[in-house]
């Protein structure tokens, strides 16, 4: 009973130090997964012949990564309720979810930057392969040129801070949503405390 009271107190007072391990562990695992998936599809794009299809490996990777990482917020809440305290308020869960989404973006951006130390030409090769695929598409010349210019520019203009600034909001919001579902599924509510 004492343990439950302590856990409930933890649930009522928000302390970042109690939440960071769940955010960091789940964020690190999911960023590694998204990094590996991105790299796999990236090299598949680089090493494949341009087909001219809109459905290219690099296009598929973002959908797969989204699916894989959207549940990180829910998992972070699950981890917290298992390892720290079974009590969690909805707002706390929402914040944990958003921060988990942000952690995934930060870790995977760092991993991508580190990969450039191993393969410095990765980005250029990926841009060339993507452009080659666009050029093989059955499109009017003007539309194709515009598409190539826009893609090349957006893939090159990816500074570290820009990637974080533009990359965090949407995954953060989606993970916030799954984390709130996680609170409903895994966290104990105050009216469920048994004395």
């Amino acid at each position: 009973m004492e343990m439950e009271e302590v856990n409930q107190e933890q649930g009522n007072s928000f302390s970042f130090s109690a939440y960071w391990p769940s955010i960091a562990i789940v964020g690190a695992i999911f960023s590694l997964i998204s990094f590996v998936i991105g790299l796999y599809f990236g090299y598949q794009q680089i090493n494949s012949e341009p087909t001219g299809s809109f459905i290219s490996p690099i296009m598929i990777s973002s959908g797969v990564i989204c699916l894989a990482t959207a549940f990180a917020g829910m998992l972070a809440v699950w981890h917290y309720t298992k390892e720290v305290s079974p009590f969690m308020k909805l707002g706390q869960g929402a914040l944990v979810g958003f921060l988990t989404g942000a952690a995934i973006v930060i870790f995977s951006t760092v991993l991508n930057e580190l990969w450039l130390l191993i393969d410095p030409e990765y980005t250029e090769k990926l841009i060339e392969a993507t452009i080659a695929n666009v050029e093989a598409m059955d499109l009017p010349a003007d539309a194709r040129d515009d598409m190539v210019d826009a893609m090349a520019q957006s893939m090159r203009d990816q500074s570290f801070l820009r990637q974080l600034f533009i990359g965090i909001p949407v995954p953060g919001l989606l993970n916030m949503g799954t984390a709130m579902i996680g609170v409903k599924l895994f966290a104990k509510k105050e009216d469920e405390i048994s004395f």
Binding site: F54, I55, M59, I60, S61, S62, G63, I65, C66, A70, L90, G91, A94, V105, D146, M147, D149, A150, M151, Q153, S154, I166, G167, P169, V170, P171, L173, L174, M176, G177, M180, I181, V183, K184
Partner: protein, 144 residues
């Protein structure tokens, strides 16, 4: 209703997400490298022939993602109206699981060439998935 601040904050965020997902047609500029497309690049494949055209330009997300985002916003908007209809009820979770199952069936059928899904079918199937994802937590906002 509990957590009014959280509810309002998420409502604003979801509204912005739907507005941004409409893409360059509403925000100015041309599709292809537009900032709205970059915003969703990490979560959507943005394949042009699987994307709606809005105000003469491709939207920033594909039809399924747009359906999910619009569904999330619609469901979130319904939360204050649901009240006792969701409190300690199991139907929202059952509906969410069914909506998820529909996605798997639709994707698999298309993958194994059993049928060919369309932009409209992807949008219409994405809509309930998003909507019930919001509604499933509606009871947490109820005071009773």
């Amino acid at each position: 209703m509990k957590y009014k601040l959280l509810y309002t904050g998420v409502l604003i965020a979801l509204s912005l997400m739907v507005l941004f997902s409409l893409g360059s047609g509403i925000w100015g500029g041309e599709a292809g490298g537009h900032w709205t497309e970059q915003l969703f690049r990490g979560v959507c494949h943005q394949i042009p022939d699987r994307t709606f055209v809005f105000m003469g330009e491709l939207m920033a997300v594909n039809t399924r993602c747009f359906g999910i985002f619009l569904g999330l916003l619609t469901g979130w908007g319904l939360i204050p109206l649901l009240k006792n209809r969701v409190f300690k009820k199991k139907w929202p979770l059952a509906c969410l699981l069914f909506a998820g199952l529909l996605q798997i069936i639709d994707y698999s059928g298309n993958l194994f060439l059993l049928w060919e899904n369309t932009n409209s079918s992807r949008f219409l199937l994405g809509l309930p998935l998003g909507m019930f994802s919001s509604i499933v937590i509606a009871d947490l906002f109820q005071s009773t």
